[in-house]
């Protein structure tokens, strides 16, 4: 510090800036191509003719896509709600007060879905459902999604909880607030940004999942990613570009919101 421009200059390493911009281009250029060609008038997804919204119209009118979108939304909402509720409770139990025996184990178990490769989770869940004969239709998919959504909801909530000032709760307790009151009036409002951020992340990881859904879902339980995958196998069409773009925009919107809310009042 202190040395002003000199210090800044010392930090510079040749070629690093160029690499950073290259990295950004690498991450975004392919997405940009997909989005641009979803507005292409012709059937080609690589040769530009003229601007058109027709593929969006076709995609929205497609009953297969409508059905898949409805399924995706149902699964994502249920998985998000279930994961957020149980993750909030778990975060309250693990992040506060004195450490108890098994704390580390509980943390590991909750985050385990992040460690196990998705394909392994997919076949294991399929085997499990087949073995116990569970056939709740879309309910099977919702249950499978809830499991891997839990750590995504848990981590931001726990992080928020750990950064919170304990003095407020203590003050409330000193002023004869009941534990429920302290929770309802102090902890919950302060924790809300973490809960919302966690819920949004849970929502998008559910919305984006392909492999676990593909393994677990039966006929008529197609979600959007599963639909897109099955269409891609038969060739890429601008209609798929259009649906993909919509799905991308939903993800980007939710990540952005989660980013903004999660950072608020930090």
């Amino acid at each position: 510090m202190g040395a002003g421009t000199r210090a800044l200059d010392l930090k510079r390493l040749p070629g690093f800036g160029a690499t950073a911009w290259f990295c950004l281009a690498l991450l975004y250029a392919p997405i940009a191509v997909l989005v641009v060609f979803s507005f292409n008038a012709s059937r080609s997804v690589t040769v530009w003719s003229e601007f058109s919204l027709s593929w969006y119209g076709k995609a929205i009118a497609n009953t297969g896509i409508q059905q898949a979108a409805a399924n995706s939304l149902k699964v994502a909402v249920v998985a998000m709600l279930a994961a957020t509720v149980v993750a909030t409770a778990a975060a309250l139990a693990t992040a506060r007060g004195q450490r108890f025996r098994g704390d580390a184990t509980a943390y590991l178990v909750i985050n385990l879905p992040l460690i196990v490769p998705e394909i392994v989770t997919a076949v294991a869940t399929l085997s499990f459902f087949a073995l116990i004969g569970l056939s709740l239709g879309l309910g099977n998919v919702m249950l499978a999604h809830t499991v891997f959504c839990i750590p995504f909801a848990y981590l931001p909530i726990r992080a928020r909880l750990e950064g919170m000032d304990r003095a407020l709760e203590e003050a409330a307790a000193d002023l004869y607030a009941t534990p429920w009151h302290v929770f309802r009036r102090i902890i919950l409002p302060l924790l809300a940004p973490g809960i919302v951020a966690g819920a949004m992340l849970a929502f998008i990881v559910s919305l984006d999942d392909y492999i676990i859904t593909a393994m677990v879902a039966g006929a008529g339980q197609t979600t959007l990613p599963v639909y897109i995958y099955s269409q891609i196998r038969q060739g890429v069409t601008p209609e798929i570009n259009a649906v993909s773009t919509i799905l991308l925009m939903v993800s980007i919107l939710f990540v952005s919101l989660s980013f903004v809310i999660g950072r608020k009042q930090r």
Partner: protein, 310 residues
């Protein structure tokens, strides 16, 4: 619960949750779901990997180590003799190589990127973090499809090169090992940049300054000061790229065209079309073992050093 809440202020027991009972009640649902639907199924496929395949998928409850033997040997139809077959071992080897190359490529691009981000002013820094975070959370299937659009014979790169008159016939990029590697790198690049950034952001630049004062050149300062200090981030980033790359399904499936299988595709095939659940379970167990081994190495090498730091 009430008793806990009214404890002496500052005793670290202000409000929720009080007694161990409350804690268990709060932890119960999350742990219950993960254990029942997340961990128990892993036990089931461990058992399945030692059973006999059913004719139409599923398993027959009869012990057999055939699934693991099949990984290394072919059983002769006529005389039941075993001959060594390196095909499946090759798939596992390819997965390791692909994941390793993708990790190295991510590190090569990710380290300068993270360093550049960490040396920006705070406002610009946040913008960069946001821009790297967005792809991290965007649909992996769609991002892989984007790569497919670019790499195809009639894709953007080939069209541009042919259009510019540089080449007459398209370069075949899709359905090659190169396409898979690029796809993996593209998929998991943010997983490398973010932990590296977290490490580099905390870097004490006075140490770098001291190195320069002691006549170190940029290269020396980088290799002797910056890289060693960023080690926890490097190790974490490599792990976060290597693990999902090793078990990747979408990149090898869509960009490899089913010709260049990785272990993730092998597992999927056994449960989908080949209908050999025990063999698929065995392959899943081997993948899981490889991942756990990588994690254990991480805990052994990185964690003590992290703790030792002030």
């Amino acid at each position: 619960m009430v008793a806990g809440a009214t404890a002496v202020p500052g005793a670290g027991e202000a409000a929720l949750p009080g007694a161990t009972g409350t804690r268990l009640l709060l932890l119960g649902p999350a742990l219950g779901i993960v254990v029942l639907v997340g961990i128990l199924p892993l036990g089931i496929i461990l058992v399945y990997s030692f059973l006999t395949p059913g004719t139409f998928g599923g398993v027959v409850w009869k012990f057999s180590a055939e699934a693991y033997a099949q990984f290394l040997f072919d059983r002769d139809f006529l005389d039941d003799s075993l001959t060594f077959n390196a095909a499946y071992l090759g798939i596992f080897g390819r997965s390791l190589v692909q994941a390793g190359v993708a990790t190295a490529a991510c590190l090569l691009v990710g380290f300068p990127t993270a360093y550049f981000m960490a040396t920006r002013p705070p406002a610009t820094r946040n913008a960069w973090v946001f821009l790297i975070t967005v792809p991290f959370w965007t649909n992996l299937l769609i991002r892989t499809v984007c790569m497919l659009l670019i790499l195809r014979d009639e894709g953007l790169i080939n069209n541009a090169l042919v259009g510019a008159g540089l080449i007459s016939t398209p370069i075949v990029m899709l359905y090659t090992d190169f396409a898979i590697g690029l796809g993996l790198m593209y998929s998991y690049l943010p997983f490398m940049v973010l932990p590296l950034y977290a490490s580099l952001e905390k870097l004490d630049f006075r140490l770098v300054e001291a190195a320069y004062d002691l006549y170190a050149g940029r290269w020396r300062a980088l290799t002797r000061i910056i890289i060693p200090l960023a080690r926890p981030g490097i190790v974490a980033g490599c792990l976060l790229v290597f693990i999902p790359s090793l078990g990747a399904f979408l990149a090898p499936d869509l960009l490899g065209g089913g010709k260049h299988l990785m272990i993730g595709n092998l597992i999927q095939l056994q449960f989908a079309s080949s209908r050999n659940w025990p063999f698929g379970s065995a392959a899943a167990m081997i993948l899981l073992a490889a991942v756990l081994l990588a994690l254990m190495l991480y805990v052994r090498t990185a964690a003590p050093r992290q703790r030792a730091r002030p």
